[in-house]
């Protein structure tokens, strides 16, 4: 369980985070979305005790990261500032982490196998591709078999097969009742796996909730009709919010196409088109609406 409450953070005069509050409950994959520079990484760094919050608390299983007795066994993290000593092999990098965290050496072999790096494990990490480095960082996060996974842009550098592998990992992890929080600026990536969404922009949480509800609040039905006046009267009577889109096209928010279809049939209005917008389109709309509004206040 991740609980961030009222966290603010200033870098000099720049507000990085302002009163940020959100949760990532166990058994769910929480997607942490925001444009570049929105404060995602800062929030994750505060959760990991790498940066200090100006105000507020960032707790994992009810404790600050620094107060966790064996943090590696509770939290596995991948964040962008992680690097590798170029002359050290992947296996030795993991052995170092395992030694300091009192994790057995056999576990090192296990995670190498799990991230499919065994063949490259005894080569210097300086020669790794971006995708291999990302896998090594993930292996390091998984060493302690943690209950919480905290991943900053984990899909960066992964090829399509790697992405599919990562999606399976996150879904399985949450399926075992563990907590997953991962940040991304790639919407399709989030949409595929996240059941919860937190959207952050300019250091503020602009939306948080269950993915389906969030998309649902943006559920839109597109209709075309020759009788637009009739449709608008119907919309008013039914309490729909509508948006005119061109001469004969109307977008109706917050309802399903079934509801619209039945009401239109009762009112005897002829339609030339009735469709609902696809979900990826809706997350993108939601995201752009929320983040653009902040940009031009």
């Amino acid at each position: 369980m991740i609980e961030v409450t009222g966290v603010s953070k200033l870098y000099g005069a720049t507000v990085a985070l302002k009163d940020v509050t959100f949760t990532a409950p166990p058994g769910q994959v929480t997607g942490f979305l925001g444009p570049n520079g929105a404060g995602k990484t800062t929030a994750l760094r505060i959760l990991l005790g790498l940066a200090r919050p100006g105000t507020g608390t960032a707790l994992i299983d009810g404790k600050r990261y620094a107060d966790l007795p064996s943090p590696r066994r509770v939290v596995g993290a991948v964040i962008d500032s992680m690097g590798f000593e170029p002359g050290r092999t992947g296996r030795n990098h993991l052995r170092v982490v395992a030694r300091a965290a009192k994790i057995s050496r056999t576990r090192v072999d296990d995670v190498l196998e799990f991230v499919e790096l065994t063949d490259a494990a005894d080569r210097a990490a300086g020669g790794y591709s971006l995708g291999m480095r990302q896998r090594l960082a993930l292996a390091s996060a998984l060493l302690g078999d943690p209950q919480v996974l905290l991943l900053d842009e984990p899909a960066n550098g992964l090829d399509p097969a790697g992405m599919a592998w990562l999606r399976r990992l996150l879904t399985d992890w949450a399926g075992q009742g563990r907590t997953v929080l991962f940040s991304s600026h790639v919407l399709t990536e989030v949409e595929f796996v996240a059941n919860r969404i937190v959207i952050i922009d300019h250091g503020r949480v602009v939306r948080e909730g269950v993915a389906e509800d969030l998309y649902g609040s943006q559920r839109a039905v597109v209709v075309r009709t020759e009788d637009r006046a009739g449709l608008e009267r119907l919309a008013e009577a039914e309490g729909w919010t509508i948006r005119r889109d061109g001469a004969d096209r109307v977008v109706i928010g917050g309802v399903t196409s079934a509801v619209v279809g039945a009401a239109v049939a009762r009112a005897g209005i002829a339609l030339t088109e009735l469709s609902s917008e696809t979900s990826s389109r809706r997350l993108e709309d939601l995201f752009l609406d929320l983040t653009a509004a902040e940009e031009n206040p």
């Binding site: 940066a51 966790l68 500032s81 050290r88 030694r99 300091a100 009192k102």
Partner: protein, 245 residues
């Protein structure tokens, strides 16, 4: 803390640089001792006298600069390569990290210093023979100097690690210390001779019984150098508590 130290030692053992630093130190030590013997012989100094042994062996500390580099790598190097993040995630109480690195660097300094001392002794004995002298193995000064060289290497390792924790910039730490030890300290010592003998480089010269000047005694010099390292490490810990990683 044992696990943390073991992890730091493992980090050191699994880098390629440490072997290169050790080789470089052996080379420099051998060269410095050879040069010192030849110069002293040319100056008609009695190489078997106390003065001769001190003149020749005090240069066995010159390789300690490589331990300073190693110390800076142990601490600041983690910020250069981004491994500090993993280290702080494993050990969020950062004073433990700073302390473990200080101890590891001092320990590595003892090992490096012992290798330098052995090199100095072997090379000195050899070049003495070439020049027609016998190295006085019974000279207590000789052994004191070599012990001092080991302590100096340990001190410079600790100083490098402590400064690296404070500044987090490996190149900056190394360049800063080289400029201080090779250049700035002499100027300061010239301006304020009373202060001069308490400075780190001069304390080091006291440790190896440098015959060219009036330096602190070995025990005092060792305490002074340790105090510098611990003070800088303490400053690093205080700052680390507030600093973002």
């Amino acid at each position: 803390m044992i696990d943390l130290l073991a992890a730091e030692v493992l980090k050191l053992r699994t880098t390629r640089t440490i072997g290169l630093l050790l080789l470089a130190m052996i080379g420099i030590t051998g060269l410095a001792v050879t040069g010192a013997v030849v110069l002293a012989a040319n100056a008609n100094l009695d190489l078997e006298s106390e003065r001769g042994v001190r003149t020749v062996l005090h240069v066995s500390a010159s390789g300690a600069l490589f331990v300073l580099v190693l110390g800076a790598m142990i601490s600041a190097g983690e910020f250069r390569h981004g491994t500090a993040t993993d280290t702080f995630l494993t050990t969020p109480r950062r004073w433990r990290v700073v302390a473990a690195k200080l101890v590891t660097a001092a320990g590595a300094g003892v090992v490096f210093g012992a290798v330098a001392a052995a090199t100095a002794l072997a090379v000195a004995a050899h070049v003495y023979a070439i020049k027609g002298f016998v190295f006085p193995l019974s000279s207590s000064e000789g052994w004191q100097i070599l012990a001092g060289a080991i302590v100096y290497a340990a001190s410079l390792g600790a100083l490098g690690a402590a400064t690296g924790s404070l500044v987090r910039n490996q190149v900056g730490v190394i360049v800063g210390w080289l400029v201080w030890l090779l250049l700035a300290e002499n100027i300061v010592a010239g301006l304020a001779p009373d202060v001069g003998r308490w400075l780190p480089g001069a304390a080091g010269r006291g440790l190896v019984l440098d015959p060219n000047g009036d330096f602190l005694s070995q025990p005092v010099a060792a305490v002074v150098l340790a105090a510098y390292a611990v003070t800088i490490a303490a400053a690093a810990i205080v700052i680390e508590r507030r600093r973002d990683a």
